[in-house]
């Protein structure tokens, strides 16, 4: 219990820190860019590509599939990158990791807390993308779906899985040099393709759909699309055939597994880093 309380307190302080360091609240232009312009710009690019390639309108369920998938994927991408990158940032740039590592703070809780602001920001960004799609592009979004148990529980479990994976990646950063900083983004990029954010998993080539079926994030996106845009969910018959309860069960198991696995990997890497004395070692050139 004392351990949990300490982890919670560390998480809180680290979250405050991430909030203050990664989001410059004194500068409204930066905030606006971060929360609105950047996510929208990325999504617009995709919308354009879709329109050009298909010549069909936003009523096409495949458009809704892609649009909603991409909106929520941004949260996964941001979480994986932000939390794992804390290790690089605090070791190489701010040089504070030594202070944290010699304090009684559990390092994994610190890393997760420090990345929280980016996670929250990306949720706001995803909301902006969806609102824009609904209001400006005629996306057939059912706002009531946001309050459905499938959406709420699915969202939480999916984010928990993402945080678990991100903590594991942060662990890998503890034992790797600066030039591996793209790890989080690389993993996120692969997941973008494989978890059915853009294409329905049936459309994936080379049997990649079998991989897709192993990824919790595939079920996560389905659990979010289904209540919001049922037509889009129908694009993937494989996933559409899974019941709400099964989707949530899969997500519950995956978040527990990724949470425990990510933490175990992080701790193993932390031990290894302390054994090798590289926990606080800046990469030299």
């Amino acid at each position: 219990m004392i351990g949990v309380a300490r982890a919670a307190r560390s998480f809180r302080s680290a979250a405050w820190l991430g909030w203050s360091v990664d989001t410059n609240w004194a500068d409204p232009v930066t905030i606006g860019t971060l929360l609105v312009v950047r996510p929208l710009a990325a999504t617009m690019l995709l919308v354009l590509i879709f329109e050009v390639a298909r010549g069909t309108g936003s009523a096409d369920p495949r458009f809704a599939h892609l649009y909603v998938g991409t909106a929520f994927y941004t949260i996964l991408g941001a979480t994986l990158h932000a939390i794992s990158f804390v290790v690089m940032d605090d070791r190489e740039r701010y040089e504070t990791i030594r202070v944290v590592a010699t304090s009684p703070v559990p390092l994994a809780a610190y890393v997760a807390g420090r990345g929280l602001s980016s996670l929250v920001n990306s949720c706001v960004g995803a909301g902006v993308i969806l609102a824009f799609g609904s209001l400006a592009l005629g996306l057939p979004l059912r706002p009531a779906g946001l309050l459905s148990p499938l959406f709420l529980a699915g969202f939480g479990l999916g984010v928990a899985s993402a945080v678990g994976l991100a903590i594991g990646l942060a662990g890998v950063h503890l034992v790797t040099a600066r030039h591996h900083y793209l790890l989080g983004e690389s993993v996120a990029g692969v997941l973008y393709l494989l978890s059915g954010a853009i294409f329905p998993i049936e459309a994936l080539p080379f049997g990649a759909d079998r991989l897709a079926r192993l990824l919790p994030f595939t079920y996560w996106l389905e659990a979010l699309r289904r209540p919001l845009v049922p037509e889009a969910s129908a694009c993937s018959p494989t996933l559409a055939a899974i019941s709400d309860a099964t989707l949530l069960a899969i997500l519950a198991v995956s978040s527990a597994a990724l949470g425990a696995g990510g933490l175990a990997l992080f701790r193993a890497c932390e031990r290894s880093a302390r054994r090798r004395g590289i926990l606080d070692a800046r990469t030299d050139h």
């Binding site: 030594r98 944290v100 090798r276």
Partner: protein, 337 residues
């Protein structure tokens, strides 16, 4: 209870040929023994100095005590807790500050940054804020309290990190070359603060590494030399100096006093060996006196006065820690010593 205890502490670094981390030099030995069987005891209330040149193994020992690095073999305990099996207990009781440290977030103010550090140790905000302000005041950073770290000079940032060490209220303060790169007055402020801090409460101890022998001499109750990973002589600075020589040397300059040995004025004083050289051009005689007992200097002075010789200057020349280090290792301490 001892503040720090190590037994046969040894650390070997293996050079990784194809590691993910670090440089991939193929030159040099495959193994570096950074620490070779260090046995050390730092008592409660003590300020203990580790004095040695660059590469001696100081930081390696410090990192092991701060749980940043595990020993290859041997044991280390801080306040009775084992650094390997009870690292959390150790981290609760230490604060580590390294010289030249620039840690911090440019966007935070000095006050905010220091507050964040105290939160990692679970200190209550209400108690911490007045102490932050007091510490900034005494280190001459009061006017910087609300400046962003990005606006601080490197010296100011380093001072802020030294302040962190005191604020965390450790039982054992670990300072790795704390004055490295600080200007003279900032370095003095740090030394004064260390001395006062350790006296404020009886359970506080300081382990300090340095390659500045005056720093070790001035600040430390006891000093150990470290050289090529081995701990050599360990004692109070005075006792160490007595080891090189139990005699005291004086240099004395007088108006030319006749013959080469000052007319033999100083012959036959018990426990005093004198050599003299006269510089006729300058009209001076210079004596080098080696005294078995410092008290004998009184007899020297009265003999010269009685002989009508005017003393121009007199200074005692004690061995420094550098001399002791030289005697122990055959090597100097390197720059700045």
């Amino acid at each position: 209870m001892h503040a720090i205890e190590t037994e046969g502490l040894r650390r070997v670094f293996r050079r990784r040929r194809r590691g993910l981390f670090g440089s991939r030099e193929d030159e040099g030995p495959a193994e570096v023994v950074a620490l070779e069987g260090a046995d050390l005891v730092v008592s409660e209330g003590e300020t203990f100095g580790l004095l040695g040149p660059n590469g001696a193994g100081k930081t390696t020992l410090i990192k092991i005590l701060a749980t940043l690095l595990t020993p290859s073999t041997g044991r280390a305990r801080v306040r009775g807790f084992d650094v390997e099996s009870q690292p959390l207990e150790v981290r609760r009781r230490i604060a580590l500050v390294s010289g030249g440290e620039q840690a911090g977030y440019g966007i935070l103010t000095v006050r905010e940054q220091l507050w964040v550090y105290t939160q990692f140790h679970g200190l209550p905000t209400r108690e911490v804020m007045p102490r932050i302000d007091a510490a900034l005041e005494r280190f001459g950073l009061a006017d910087r309290a609300r400046s962003k770290l990005s606006k601080l000079s490197t010296g100011e940032r380093q001072k802020m990190n030294v302040i962190r060490g005191f604020l965390l209220q450790p039982e054992v303060l670990i300072l790795d070359e704390p004055t490295l790169g600080l200007d003279v007055s900032a370095a003095r402020a740090v030394r004064v603060a260390v001395r006062e801090w350790v006296r404020e409460a009886p359970a506080r101890s300081v382990l300090l590494t340095t390659h500045y022998m005056t720093e070790a001499d001035e600040l430390c109750d006891r000093v150990a030399f470290i050289h090529k990973g081995r701990l050599l002589a360990c004692d109070t600075p005075d006792a160490l100096k007595r080891r090189v020589s139990d005699r005291t040397t004086y240099r004395l300059e007088t108006d030319a006093a006749g013959g080469p040995s000052g007319d033999g004025l100083l012959d036959g004083i018990p426990g005093v060996a004198a050599t003299a050289s006269t510089d006729p051009a300058a009209g001076r005689t210079r004596y080098v006196l080696s005294l078995a007992d410092e008290g004998a200097i009184g007899e020297v002075v009265s003999r010269l006065s009685a002989g009508g010789v005017r003393i121009r200057s007199l200074r005692s020349e004690r061995p420094t820690l550098e001399d002791v280090f030289l005697a122990a290792t055959g090597e100097g301490l390197g720059d700045g010593a």
